[in-house]
Amino acid sequence: MLLLGPFGFAAPWVLAALVALPVLWVILRAMPPAPRRIVFPGVALLAGLADRTPVARRTPWWLLLLRLAAVAAMILAFAGPVWRPVLQDPADGPLLVVMDGGWAAAPDWAVRQSRAERALVDAAAAGRPAALILADGRDGETGALAFQAPGSLVAGLRAAQPVAWASTLPDDPEAALAGAPSGRLSTLWLTDGTEHANRKAWLAALTARGPVTVVPPSRPLRTLALAPGDAPSLTLAATDDAVPAVLAIGPDPQGIERELARLVPGEATDQEGAWVRPVAIDLPPELRNRITRFRIENEAHAGAVVLADDRVRRRKVALVGNPVGQAEGQVLLAQTHYLRQALAPSADLVEGSLGDVLDSAPDVIILADQVQLAEIGELAEWVDAGGLLIRFAGPRMAGFERLMDEPLLPVMPRQGGRDIGGALSWGDPRGLAPFAGDGPFAGLTVPEDVTVRAQLMAQPAPDLQARTIAALSDGTPLITRDRLGEGQVVLVHVTANAEWSNLPLSGLFVQMMERLVATARLSPADEAGDDRQQPFWTPETVLDGFGNVGTAEGLAPVAAEDLARGVGPGRPAGIYAAGERRQALNAGGPILRAQWPGATVEAAQATTGRDLKGLLLAAAALLLALDALGSAWLARGGRAAAAVLFLALALMPRPQAALAQDLDAELMRAATEVALAYVVTGQPEVDRASEQGLWGLSLALRQRTSVEPGRPIAIDLDQDDLSLLTFLYWPVTEGQAPPSPQAYLRLNAFLRSGGMILFDTRDGDIAGIGGPDMSEALRRLAAPLDIPPLAPVPEDHVLTRSFYLLGDFPGRWQGNPVWVEAPPVGAEAEAGVPFRQLNDGVTPVVIGGNSWAEAWAVDENGYPTFPIGRGWEGEQQREIAFRFGINLIMYVLTGNYKSDQVHVPALLDRLRTEEMLAP
């Protein structure tokens, strides 16, 4: 390969043809351009005239230059030019390809695979033995690496997938490399850019044996992790300073998994070469509780996904009120009633005695006016371990004699409490002071009408002000808080019911409780008690290396102590369950950049040379086209060149016309006139019968009902849009080609959006199969459709009474069952009601073989086209067939409206009662 600056040429000898260019110049210069052609009636006068001085016309220099440039481009193209070619590795010893296989390698996995494959192919061409290590920690026990022909490694390389834990190399590099053939071992290391287990030892061992080339990742790495701290929040770490959005994904109210919110990362801080940004999860509790995972937008690896577990989810709140149930009917006086109402939407509530709720490991315990608790020691331990205890004052607490000695209170209360604005006290009830801007209630608006009539006072103390997080307008504390070990204790100085204040009646109470509960620390994951009971955690759902959620198959339960070590071989990122507890194991975390002493780091872009041959050939073609245009312009004048240019532009593919224009006038008629439609089968007589049949039915509808359809519409399933149709008649013929998959998509959308198809096998079920399958052709045509379970039309189906009362549905034939969507299993007839209240669903298909269109068919004079039966009975059958058609169209248009008539007796009853009550 010849190298000229950044260009390389695969076949440099072709460049010798460039020498011929000057010769070409001379030849082209001597060739005159084509003469102009002019229509000239006076040509007779010119006959015989000779050019006096025959001027040697020369090709204009710019045309010449165009042609030479085209030829030069072609010569260069055939010389095989490559931009920044990758030089062949001159080494001849064995080759070792180390491929990091952790999640951090997933974003550009395909690039890595092709790079490694190229290295192996090159080695195969050079006859070098090669070995491949996939650093995914799964083959740690393989011992010595087997060096073999590189071609046999390619299949394994192509099948390799990144794993959902960090890249891991075997422990002992020396043992693994023991089997290497003699000679300098050259190494190609496709790194994921992060530091991982045993990397340094391997690098040292490999650099000692030969050159190491490191291929850095081609994309910046971004990871997402759950940030430690009280409030759940995320940390986004990235090797670049782009700010991608973080998507919160979970089921929407319909249960469909979708993006629930987009979180915007905050300001970045630089930590050891990585940009770290906090991502606050500032979402309403209802929304946050639905989140199943967070994901960095447009990142496809396991480290970009944070699975949400109990730590992000709703808090478990325990309510402890009066153990003895309140008297019946006094629920509004209960201490816990307002708390229950306020917290139920956003938290899981546990109620019971303190001992019971402590066993359920709640995040928050609320004590409503409780003193002298038996389990106070356990409660203190729980708070010390991180629990949030909220206590409400009340008459019992105020009247408790040894209140000064009561433990687990943030401030020392004064016994007796204080009445304001009562009958025997001075002053008015107090309002609330605005909340401090830095407290947990910052930003909440205090309603004017919230007043406090009584409160528990606190002993004056130096730190009372610091512990107060809400105060009354006179500065006395309303809510105080103190930290106790890992947890905190909050005292609300009024009752949790409306006895002392009307605060629990206001919306502010709900907001305050939500804020307070949200500050609760998440229950620690590794509680000793739980671990003893649940030594193993079973994976429920796991992520693959690309961050896709899959089911955990073939994975063994993980010991608790292993789980505490985070993701690793055998325990990919995912959700692990032990008993009722679920814990997420996430791959992402802080990024540690790897350093490569003694190795050659390949430039990130120099992955492959860029072949310029196609570009040059295209340029040559363009130049030749310009040359043709220029020659035409010379020969014919500007107008001809403009015509050529116009032609070229006209031949260029134009963008699709606006979609709004696609609707055919015929289909728009379907919407305006409620025209009936039939499927074109391709058999002229069947299509004509369909057309005439639907026209006959349309005429009958016009005469007898307020439905006035227009002329029937022929539908070609492969091309026509169905969205404007309501009813489609589909005669089934043998040999009818099934529509395209797109047509089936449209048909299914048509059925789902309330359309109906009447399948007609037109054979009167001569074969006697009897089932809804009817014929082979129908089975073949209807198989891809979303058709519900079918049943013969029940006697009380709406179809039997939507306009006429019908017992049979004859067409040209009669006595064959007609199949519609099966009624639900549980539908039972109610007493006194003539028919069951069947499902709300209007059947999307009606299947039969009675050849209805032929029964309905009329010619242009309005006379029936096909004979039915014999004499008067035949005409009667035709009449019933028309009635079926009318019932069917009514059913299509009104759905289960008639079914609602089941309520008529009840309505009449009510009317009668009201009549009697009326004076």
Binding site: P35, R36, V39, P41, L45, A47, L49, V55, R57
Partner: protein, 291 residues
């Protein structure tokens, strides 16, 4: 090839669609010139009353106007004004070369020739002359203008055509409109026969300015309109002098032939106003009549 009658009618309608415009523009053109007084102002064979004169010997009995004679004792004869029996015959060349226009804003030579021919015919008809196409009967009257307009409809397919010398009749004035660029042998035949019959007339050459000035340069392949004739030149600019010399030569030859036969020769370029050409033709006919 058989053509359906409907096709023929459609074609005729399409071809005749331009006629009103042609008639209108020709009328407008003809209105610029007021025809002079007609009649020969002497007694002779004719339609109009001229005078009563006393019968003289030699007058036939049936020529006596008895109504006038009854009012006196003398016999009177009713004389009529002598009328000229002359007619004008117009011929417009229909060759393919006439369908040429050097620029989009100029009419083709055929259009201009038809316009001039029809306008002249209208003038003559207003003056009471009988007008027809050469070889067809001449008629008087305003309706004849419409017939002429139809007969002049464009149908140029022949490479070149010639005025039919056998269409000449005595006592005719002949107006020949052509570009005279093709072989002019027929002119000589026509003029010779006309001189023999005592027929006089005009030769009127209508040329496009491109044909008169030859503004071409460089390598050019010239083709006739029908494509039958070609001339290839490397240096069209160098041919200009030779071409113009040949054109002058052709005109001089035509003028000489006209002088010999007692005809007149005029020329016109399609970028000039047609009124001037019409005026020249009108006055030329007048000059000729006065001769």
């Amino acid at each position: 090839m058989t053509r359906l009658p409907t096709d023929l009618r459609a074609g005729a309608e399409a071809a005749g669609g331009h006629l009103p415009a042609l008639v209108l523009s020709a009328e407008r053109l003809a209105a610029l010139i007021a025809p002079g007084a007609h009649g020969l102002r002497r007694a002779g064979p004719g339609e109009d009353f001229w005078q009563y004169r006393p019968a003289a010997s030699g007058d036939e009995m049936r020529s006596i106007d008895w109504r006038r004679s009854a009012r006196s004792d003398q016999e009177f004869v009713r004389d009529r004004e002598a009328q000229s029996a002359q007619a004008a015959a117009i011929w417009v060349s229909n060759g393919q070369g006439m369908n040429y226009s050097g620029a989009g804003d100029r009419p083709t030579k055929a259009d201009r020739a038809r316009l001039l021919g029809l306008a002249l015919a209208m003038l003559l008809l207003r003056g009471g002359e009988k007008v027809g196409l050469l070889g067809q009967p001449a008629r008087a009257g305003r309706i004849q203008a419409d017939r002429l307009a139809e007969a002049l409809a464009p149908a140029g397919t022949a490479e070149e055509d010639a005025a039919p010398a056998e269409g000449l009749r005595p006592n005719q004035r002949v107006i020949v409109l052509s570009d005279f660029l093709a072989d002019p042998e027929w002119v000589q035949v026509l003029l010779a026969r006309a001189a023999g019959l005592g027929v006089t007339g005009l030769l009127f050459q209508i040329l496009d300015p491109d044909e008169a000035h030859f503004p071409y340069e460089g390598a050019v392949e010239f083709r006739s309109v029908g494509g039958g004739l070609r001339h290839h030149s490397r240096d069209a600019g160098g041919l200009r002098a030779a071409y113009l010399a040949r054109l002058d030569e052709r005109r001089a030859w035509l003028r000489t032939r006209c002088d010999e036969a007692g005809w007149q020769f005029g020329q016109h370029l399609t970028d000039a106003a047609p009124a001037a050409a019409l005026g020249w033709m009108w006055s030329a006919l007048g000059r000729e009549a006065g001769r």
